[in-house]
C-alpha cells in the first residue's frame, strides 16, 4: 500500500523529503500561523502524561516547579529563535543535508542511525503509556515506579497488543493516524485543562485562594517518593530547556523552520512550550498527586488509571490517543532512518523490524520510569552535531576557514566532526555533574573542539588558497 499523505503532520514529514537536497524556494515558504499551530499540537503528547508525574515523584516543590518551568521553557524558545531559526532561514536546508555538506554522507548515516535508535526507545515508552490504559478493563497489574523488568504476563500482553497495533498501522496506514493526530490535538489540549480542574476539589481546592497552599502541601510537596532523587529548580529548568535539545540547539528543526519566511517564526515553539509542556506538565502532576493521596502513596506509576480516575472513559481515550499518536510517527521516522542502511528493503519490512525492537523495549517499564533521564540523554547524544552546524555556519568564516568542508573536498566522512561528537560525549559523561546539566558545558566543548579540529584539518588548504589569490 502506498503512502498518500495529506495530513498536516505527514505534509511536514513529506516536506522533509521535498527539496531534500535544495533550498526551499520562496514560493513554498509558510506564514507564521502554520508554525504556531504545528508547535502547539506537537508538544501535547504521550510524554506529558509521564513527565509531570515524574516531577511530583522526584519531590519538586511548587515554587521551584513553577519558576523552573517558566525559565526553562523560555530558554527553549530562545534557543529555537536565536540558534536554530537564523540558520534555518538563511540556508533553507534539511538538517540531514546540512550535516551531509559539513560531515559527509557516511557520518550523517551514523547520525541517522543513532537518531533512529533514540526514536525506537521514545516510541517504546509511548507504547507502554498506552498499554497502561488498555490494561484497565482487565485489572492488569500496573508497573511501579522502581520497576525495571516486566512485572506480569498481563503487562507483557498489553504491551505486545499495543505495540503490534501501532506497528501494523505504521506499516500500512500511517497517513490515517497522522491525520487522526491532528483531529485529536484540540481535544487533547482541553482534556489537559478539564481533567485537573475537575479533581481540584478532591485535593481540597475549592477556590483560587486555596490553590497555592494545596499545591505546596498536597501536590508538589518537596518530598520525593522512596527511591527517587530530589529535584530542585535547576533540574526542572534544565529539563524544560533541554527536553527538546535535539530540535533547537541540536538543529533538528532546521527541517521545519527552513519553511519560515522570517527568523522570528522561531518563537512559534512558545505555543508548544507554554500551552503544551507548561500546562500539560502541571496538569498531569495534579492528577498524579491525587492518585498518590487516594492510594496512600502507592508506588504504582501508570498514566491510564490516573487519567481514568480524573476523566473516566475520556481520560482513558486521551492516554491511548496521546501515546499512540506519538509512537506512530516516531516509528515511521525511525524506519526511514534505518532504511538508509538497507535501501533495497521494502519500507514495510523495515518498519516491522523497528516496531518489533520498539515493542520489546516497551515491555521494560524502566523506559517510562526513567523517561526524564532518557530524554536528557537523547538530547545530549545528538547535541554535538548541532554545535558542529552552528560553528560551521557562524564561526568558521570569521576565522578564515571554509564552510561545508565535505562538499568542498568531496569527502564522505569528516574526522573533525566525528571527533567532536565522540570526544564531547566522552567529556560530558565524565563530567561530575548530573545528566540534566551536562549538555550546557558540552555545547561549548563541542564548539571549541570543532573549530580547533577544523583549523587543523584546513590550515594547509586555506594557506594554499590564500597563496593562490596572491
Amino acid at each position: 500500500m502506498e503512502f498518500t499523505p495529506k495530513s498536516t503532520l505527514t505534509q511536514k514529514l513529506d516536506a522533509v523529503d521535498e527539496f531534500e537536497r535544495t533550498p526551499i524556494p520562496a514560493n513554498k515558504l509558510k506564514g507564521a500561523g502554520s508554525f504556531w499551530g504545528m508547535y502547539a499540537g506537537e508538544h501535547i503528547a504521550g510524554t506529558e502524561f509521564v513527565i509531570g508525574p515524574l516531577f511530583v515523584a522526584h519531590g519538586i516543590s511548587a515554587g521551584d516547579l513553577v519558576s523552573g518551568l517558566l525559565v526553562g521553557n523560555l530558554l527553549a524558545v530562545l534557543s529555537w529563535a536565536f540558534i536554530c531559526a537564523p540558520i534555518a532561514i538563511r540556508r533553507r536546508l534539511t538538517l540531514y543535508y546540512q550535516l551531509e555538506k559539513i560531515c559527509g554522507p557516511r557520518l550523517t548515516l551514523i547520525y541517522n542511525l543513532v537518531n533512529a535508535l533514540m526514536f525506537c526507545f521514545l516510541a517504546g515508552a509511548m507504547i507502554a503509556v498506552s498499554a497502561t490504559a488498555v490494561g484497565i478493563p482487565f485489572n492488569m497489574t500496573m508497573p511501579a515506579l522502581n520497576d525495571f523488568y516486566p512485572n506480569s504476563i498481563g503487562w507483557i500482553i498489553a504491551v505486545l497488543i499495543v505495540g503490534a497495533a501501532t506497528t501494523v498501522v505504521a506499516m500500512f496506514g500511517y497517513t490515517q493516524v497522522a491525520r487522526f493526530a491532528n483531529y485529536a490535538a484540540p481535544w487533547m489540549i482541553l482534556m489537559f485543562i478539564a481533567a485537573p480542574v475537575a479533581v481540584l476539589p478532591a485535593l481540597g481546592i475549592h477556590s483560587f485562594a486555596d490553590f497555592w497552599p494545596a499545591a505546596q502541601q498536597k501536590i508538589w510537596t518537596g518530598i520525593p517518593l522512596a527511591g527517587q532523587s530530589q529535584f530542585t529548580f535547576w533540574h526542572v529548568m534544565f529539563f524544560a530547556w533541554f527536553c527538546n535539545l535535539a530540535m533547537h540547539i541540536g538543529m533538528s528543526d532546521l527541517s521545519i523552520l527552513r519553511y519560515a519566511r522570517k527568523w522570528h517564526y522561531g518563537f512559534a515553539p512558545a505555543a508548544g512550550m507554554f500551552f503544551g509542556h507548561y500546562l500539560a506538565w502541571l496538569a498531569s502532576g495534579i492528577l498524579y498527586a491525587l492518585f498518590l493521596l487516594e492510594s496512600n502513596q502507592s508506588m504504582e506509576f501508570a498514566p491510564g488509571p490516573v487519567a481514568y480516575r480524573a476523566a473516566g472513559l475520556a481520560g482513558v481515550v486521551c492516554v491511548i490517543v496521546a501515546g499512540w499518536t506519538t509512537a506512530n510517527p516516531t516509528i515511521y521516522r525511525a524506519g526511514l532512518a534505518l532504511q538508509a542502511l538497507m535501501p533495497r528493503s521494502k519500507t514495510w519490512k523495515v518498519t516491522m523490524i523497528i516496531g518489533l525492537i520498539t515493542t520489546l523495549a516497551a515491555c521494560f517499564p524502566a523506559l517510562v520510569m526513567k523517561l526524564l533521564d532518557f530524554v536528557a540523554l537523547y538530547g545530549l547524544i545528538l547535541m554535538p552535531m548541532g554545535a558542529v552546524i552552528f560553528a560551521d555556519f557562524w564561526l568558521l568564516p570569521k576565522l578564515g576557514l571554509k564552510q561545508d568542508y565535505a562538499v568542498w573536498q568531496q569527502i564522505v566522512f569528516s574526522w573533525p566532526a566525528a571527533l567532536t561528537w565522540g570526544v564531547t560525549l566522552l567529556i560530558c559523561f565524565l563530567l561530575p555533574i548530573e545528566l540534566f546539566f551536562k549538555a550546557l558545558p558540552g555545547w561549548f566543548i563541542a564548539i571549541g573542539l570543532y573549530v580547533s579540529l577544523s583549523y587543523v584539518q584546513q590550515r594547509v588548504q586555506v594557506k594554499e588558497l590564500a597563496g593562490a589569490k596572491v
Partner: protein, 56 residues
C-alpha cells in the same frame, strides 16, 4: 452540513471542558460530569474529521 458539523464539534469541545468547571463549582454530580465529557469526546471525534479533512 459543514456548518452543522462545525457546530457539533464546538459543542463536543464545550462538553469536554465546561463540565469540569461545573464539577469544580459543585453544580453537577461526578456521574453527570463523566457522562457529559464522554458525550463531548464522542461528538468531537465523530464530527471533526469531516470538516477538518476538507480544510486540510
Amino acid at each position: 452540513m459543514r456548518t452543522f458539523l462545525k457546530l457539533s464539534s464546538s459543542i463536543g469541545l464545550g462538553l469536554t471542558v465546561i463540565p469540569s468547571f461545573l464539577i469544580f463549582a459543585q453544580t453537577i454530580t461526578w456521574k453527570t460530569y463523566l457522562t457529559l465529557m464522554t458525550i463531548g469526546t464522542l461528538l468531537w471525534f465523530l464530527t471533526a474529521p469531516f470538516w477538518m479533512k476538507e480544510e486540510n
